[in-house]
Amino acid sequence: MNKRVFILIPSYNEGKVIRQTVRSLSELYTVVVIDDASTDSTFNAVRDLPVVYLRHDINLGQGAALQTGMEYARMQDADVVVHFDADGQHNPADIPRFIEELCAQPVDIILGSRFLREDDMDAIPRLRRGLLKIARMVNGLLTGLWLTDAHNGFRVMNRRALNAIQLKENRMAHATEILMQIRRGHLRYMELPTHIVYTAYSQDKGQRWSGAFNILVDVFINKYFR
């Protein structure tokens, strides 16, 4: 069966790495690069690759970029949508494995987890591992979904999930918002192991403790004040 698979890659100033991330994927899937008002050479890095390029005029955040990509994919009648990071942390080889499971299992969305295999877990820097465990508990308390991982950006969803998920949280708290909407929309979900490659580049661009606090505040405001 032919599936229209859209890989959504939100990107903000990832000009140094995005070409490498996109190149291998664009031969197999429809890759949608959502440039969140980058001020670097992101567009030049992908301009000769077979991708769809969407650009925000103002920097809104990763959640907003994903929602833009999802609305585009919905308009293009996508069957399967994949959330994929621009910084090369995710493994492209995981995509077909996740899609096959999505088609074979009675689920609407599959979430990547770094805590299902020993070697994936060992690859996480110690400080980040502690932070993720706290985030996992916060997510569980706020959403009622007790997953093994938190804020893993690798997700694969079908059309039902694509229609049900509407992100209002523009910045990093979208990861928790997705879990809330999975619960609210009665979406069927499962986790699969995924390997994240932590490079010096990705760690430098990644979330910090202060970011985690901001996410918590954003989630709280989003839940009770919108």
């Binding site: 032919n2 899937y29 077979p50 769809v52 390029y53 969407l54 809104l60 833009t68 096959e100 059309r159």
Partner: protein, 125 residues
């Protein structure tokens, strides 16, 4: 009752009247906000002109001094205004986000070829 204004009471009353006129001009098409603002300014003028009123109310409410009562009311009012303004900011954020999103999708640059990928035949997703 004859009310005689001291110089500071007179200045404060004039300032409050100016604030009232400015707010009525600014809050166009917002009847509720206009009425609430006008009521606040009128109470303010009354409190300035007749300081016995906040003193009397404070005594009745067990606050103590009239100035304390005014402070508590101001504190609560500022907090409430902050929440209302923050909500408005969130609404504007949402509108801006939608506009930027529509613009991004409308101006999509499509450099790709075929959009489908063959997968193993299995249950519909």
């Amino acid at each position: 009752m004859q009310v005689t204004l001291t110089p500071i009471q007179f200045i404060l009353t004039i300032l409050l009247v100016i604030v009232a006129i400015a707010s009525l001009r600014l809050l166009r098409n917002r009847l509720m906000y206009r009425l609430v603002f006008l009521a606040i300014v009128l109470v303010g003028i009354l409190f300035v002109a007749v300081p016995y009123i906040p003193y009397y109310l404070a005594q009745q409410l067990g606050v103590g001094r009239g100035v304390d009562l005014v402070f508590y009311l101001l504190f609560t009012g500022i907090l409430l205004m902050g929440v209302i303004l923050y909500r408005r900011i969130l609404e504007h954020d949402l509108i801006i986000t939608q506009l930027i999103r529509q613009n991004a999708i409308r101006n999509a640059i499509d450099q790709k070829g075929d959009t489908s990928v063959a997968l193993k035949d299995s249950k519909d997703a």
